[in-house]
């Protein structure tokens, strides 16, 4: 069983070395979110994601960020507590609105 496991690891290592490295794949992952990749790129990407858990998670994480961010906007664009208008600017805007200077 141990020999089988080692062999599997070696095969995996050999296989991943035949494909573009993670650094190139993460760029392709990002690009795939912008346009359709070529057939060759799609195959390389699929194979890499199939054997590399890290890039697979990277891919999932980016898509989660996209899904969460876009549905966040749909429900409420940006309600998070955060910076507020300073009192001076608030007064300036009020003055402008009421026609003062």
């Amino acid at each position: 069983m141990k020999t089988y496991h080692n062999l599997k690891q070696k095969m995996r290592a050999w296989f991943i070395h035949q494909l573009p490295p993670c650094e190139a794949i993460v760029e392709k992952i990002s690009q795939s979110m912008e346009q359709k990749l070529t057939l060759r790129e799609r195959i390389d990407l699929k194979l890499h994601l199939w054997i590399c858990a890290w890039c697979h998670w990277y891919f999932n994480d980016l898509n989660l960020i996209r899904d969460a961010a876009s549905s966040k906007t749909a429900s409420d664009p940006y309600p998070v507590s955060g910076p507020t208008l300073s009192a001076a600017v608030r007064e300036r805007i009020k003055r402008q609105l009421t026609g003062g200077n």
Binding site: E23, R90, K94
Partner: protein, 203 residues
Amino acid sequence: MSEAQVESSNPAVDCATWVDQHGDYLFRFAVFRLRDRTAAEDVVQETFLAALRSYEKFAGRGSERTWLVGILKHKIIDHFRRTSREAPLAEDAAEGPVHEEFFQRSGQWIGHWDGAHAPTDWQATPSDLIERNDFWKVFHDCLAPLPKRTASAFTLREVDGLKSEEICELLSISVNNLWVMLHRARLHLRNCLETNWFKHSAR
């Protein structure tokens, strides 16, 4: 300011209450996209002025805030157009951290993930995050170290869902430039969220 003065007699609007009710919300919305407080203050002011001028047309149809946000979006787009014309990005001068340290730089695994920076399984769904205000705070802060234009491009793409071509036109950049910026923003943000939220938070 003559225009504002003419309209200021509009009795239907209580301007001071308006600013108090919606000012901070609009400001945060603008800061998130423009990454610049002064610019955000200006667009919020322009939004209120424009809203006052067109109040008749709105006439209480729908939510006042939604209507104001609609005007603000236009003002933000105008701002991007104006500033990108004034300070165009040099061709091929993509911005943002490269984060080479995320990958092994020597040995057999050159170009593959470095163990300390390798992604992990977040085991989360969008609905786990949408209502978590503290998550969006971290999200906002994680984008802060990026160059403004890179952070804006990312927000326009992923938060507002604009198309690549629209963003290129708004920011006066080439599509290749945009892709490099988006890639760098994603690489940086994903790692930052992992470090500051997924590994830390008491979810």
